[in-house]
């Protein structure tokens, strides 16, 4: 076991997989430099052919990744910021996601699209979206949103070995978080939730960048005698519904937390599905916690106002245990 940061854990996964399989290569803008501290130094080990700087052309570069995947390589395409996946949207949801389906399995698209979520750094409205719901909505993609260093390393390795396209979100707000990561190889299967904290009173589902405020809220709630169970699905497609249902059937209460926009969010999906499947077990209305329905503004008090916080999670848990109205806090 070594204690690694989230960013170092991601780099470890890349290094291990690049070393293991010569078909794996990494491409993206300035990956040789490693803007966020994930890919830096890899070019010295694996050379510029496999750690490939690209022009600024997200659509074509994702298409190039897809074509390389179809032709037998294992590309990892880095799209610098999550908002730039929009430029490559056709390539992701209308091309890569449908390759296997449309060819009835003749062709597959074993590629990973890694992208950074940059909230809480005053990067302004055009650099800070959390578009994971867009990819979860579009059939044919796996969507991973690791919430800790060990998850990051184990999920990224699984993503690279997957024969299906994976969209992989890296929350920069978790960048310096530390966790013990096993020395030996660890592949974390997709669709397998982690109980980040066991509890009895309320099931709280949260993933990725939403975990730190939820974990903080759990401490504060515990001090007040409320015990929440934190379930981290790790991947939102596939989703470990069984884990969530089992917990809700025990606690009878659900808070779904998603640090994204509210409408058609994963928080909505979780509330809807639990309301459908665990209706009889629910003692109170499911509560959804998301950001308010605006982009991420720049200035410090503005950005802080819209970001998730332990306060908002505490309030939601209070509502789930008390009165039964859903609101995006």
């Amino acid at each position: 076991m070594a204690e690694l940061t989230f960013l170092a854990a991601l780099q470890l996964a890349l290094r291990e997989e690049l070393a293991r399989d010569p078909r794996v290569f990494l491409m993206g803008e300035d990956v040789q430099c490693g803007v966020f501290g994930v890919t830096n130094g890899l070019v010295d080990e694996f050379g510029p052919a496999r750690i490939r700087n690209t022009p600024i052309a997200e659509a074509a570069m994702t298409g190039v990744g897809l074509g390389a995947a179809i032709a037998g390589a294992r590309p990892i395409v880095e799209i610098e910021f999550s908002t730039m996946t929009y430029i490559a949207m056709d390539m992701i949801v209308n091309q890569a996601a449908k390759t296997r389906y449309m060819t009835a399995g003749q062709a597959t698209a074993p590629m990973v699209i890694r992208t950074a979520i940059c909230m809480g750094f005053n990067a302004g409205p055009q650099h800070a979206d959390t578009p994971h719901a867009l990819f979860a909505h579009s059939a044919g993609l796996h969507v991973a949103v690791p919430g800790s260093p060990r998850s990051a390393r184990g999920l990224l390795k699984t993503a690279i070995r997957s024969d299906d396209p994976v969209v992989f979100f890296e929350h920069l707000s978790l960048g310096a978080t530390k966790e013990e990561v096993p020395e030996e190889e660890e592949l974390i299967p997709f669709g397998q939730a982690l109980v980040r904290r066991p509890g009895d009173d309320v099931t709280v589902v949260a993933f990725g960048g939403a975990l730190p405020p939820v974990l903080e809220a759990a401490e504060r709630l515990a001090a007040e005698g409320v015990s929440i169970e934190i379930i981290d699905p790790q991947t939102i497609v596939p989703f470990d519904w069984d884990a969530v249902f089992a917990s809700v059937r025990r606690t009878g209460r659900l808070v779904a937390v998603d640090d994204a926009l509210p409408t058609c969010s994963m928080a909505s999906e979780i509330c809807a599905t639990v309301a459908g499947e665990c209706f009889e077990s629910l003692k109170a209305a499911p509560v959804k916690v998301t950001r308010p329905d605006v982009p991420i503004p720049f200035s410090v008090p503005l950005e802080q106002h819209v970001l998730l916080s332990a306060d908002k999670v505490v309030a939601a848990v209070a509502r789930a245990t008390g009165r039964s109205a859903l609101a995006t806090v």
């Binding site: 052309a57 659509a59 298409g63 190039v64 179809i70 032709a71 296997r100 060819t103 009835a104």
Partner: protein
């Protein structure tokens, strides 16, 4: 030369049969005929090896047949049958035969261009000597993917060829109204050689492609070929049902092109001029007709897929 002739006739006959089936109401959806353009895919694919790769467009039957696909599963796919190349999942827009090097067939204009570049990159990384060809229309040159991919391919000296089938129309718009300047000159500024060929003359297309293949295979990088061509039929077959009385080209223009610039007729003359007997060519026509008839029979006899198949194949 005879094989070139055979392939062009095959594409033409195949599509004639498809259109008859369409008129009989047996083809679901739309059909994009490439009749009139047969010389371009055939000229290009004749310069390729079987392990080389291509990417087809929405007007892709010619591309796929020229690369060596089997008319039987092709026709079955067009009819949405279970013995189709894609088991009826995709239809005529997206026929893929991975075994003969078809990387993809794209319904999204311009999207195939970077995908083929990616195949070329994988081959370059593997060092297997393969060459990839991306076909696209005049209309596709307006999409950013075309320019983006030229820049990438030039930077990385990808072993690929950009083949623009300029049939002078994109749907119901003339290229002269929507495509500025000359297409073959677009690559120059990226340091990629660009050539313009008569796309109705299969020999000319072949020559240009052979030079480009040689260049790509030797590691010198990509080439852009603009082949000037023409489509006999509408954007989709029977387009009048969609566009009513709107006219985007003159009937006389179509008539003249068909009379004077039919690539198959032109190539037949060349063959005859080279001393090949008319009998021999007629024999090819006949053999192709039998092959196509067989494909039609096969496709008609093939069952429709089970409805539940719709839920398969999404993930590995």
């Amino acid at each position: 030369m005879l094989e070139t002739y055979r392939k062009m006739v095959l594409i033409n006959q195949f599509e004639q049969a498809m259109i008859r089936l369409f008129q009989d109401g047996r083809v679901p959806g739309f059909t994009h005929s490439c009749q009139g353009q047969e010389a371009v895919p055939v000229g290009v694919c004749t310069a390729l090896q079987s392990t080389d790769r291509i990417g087809a467009t929405h007007r892709g039957h010619g591309h796929i047949l020229a690369k060596g696909a089997n008319p039987r599963p092709m026709m079955a796919e067009i009819l949405g049958k279970v013995d189709g190349y894609c088991r009826g999942m995709s239809g005529e827009l997206h026929i893929v035969d991975s075994a003969v090097g078809v990387v993809g067939a794209n319904g999204i204009v311009g999207a195939g261009i970077p995908i083929i570049a990616g195949a070329a990159l994988a081959d370059l990384l593997e060092g297997n000597g393969r060459v990839s060809v991306t076909f696209f229309g005049d209309g596709a040159t307006s999409e950013g993917t075309f320019a983006e991919t030229m820049n990438i391919a030039a930077n990385w000296k990808l072993p690929m060829i950009f083949v623009c089938e300029n049939n002078h129309y994109a749907e119901y718009s003339a290229a002269k109204d929507t495509v500025a300047g000359e297409i073959w000159r677009r690559s120059e500024a990226y340091g990629i050689p660009g050539v313009l060929v008569d796309g109705q003359v299969v020999g000319d297309v072949y020559e240009a492609a052979a030079t480009a293949v040689e260049r790509a295979r030797s590691g010198a990088g990509p080439t852009l070929i603009e082949a000037s061509t023409y489509r006999w039929h509408g954007h989709v077959y029977g387009e009048d049902a969609l566009i009513g009385t709107y006219r985007y080209r003159e009937a006389a223009e179509v008539k003249q092109m068909r009379a004077e610039r039919d690539p198959i007729k032109l190539h037949r003359e060349v063959c005859l001029g080279a001393g090949i007997g008319a009998d021999e060519l007629d024999g090819i026509d006949k053999a192709v007709r039998a092959e196509v008839d067989d494909a039609v029979e096969f496709a008609l006899a093939s069952p429709l897929p089970a409805p539940e198949q719709a839920l398969e194949y999404l993930f590995a």
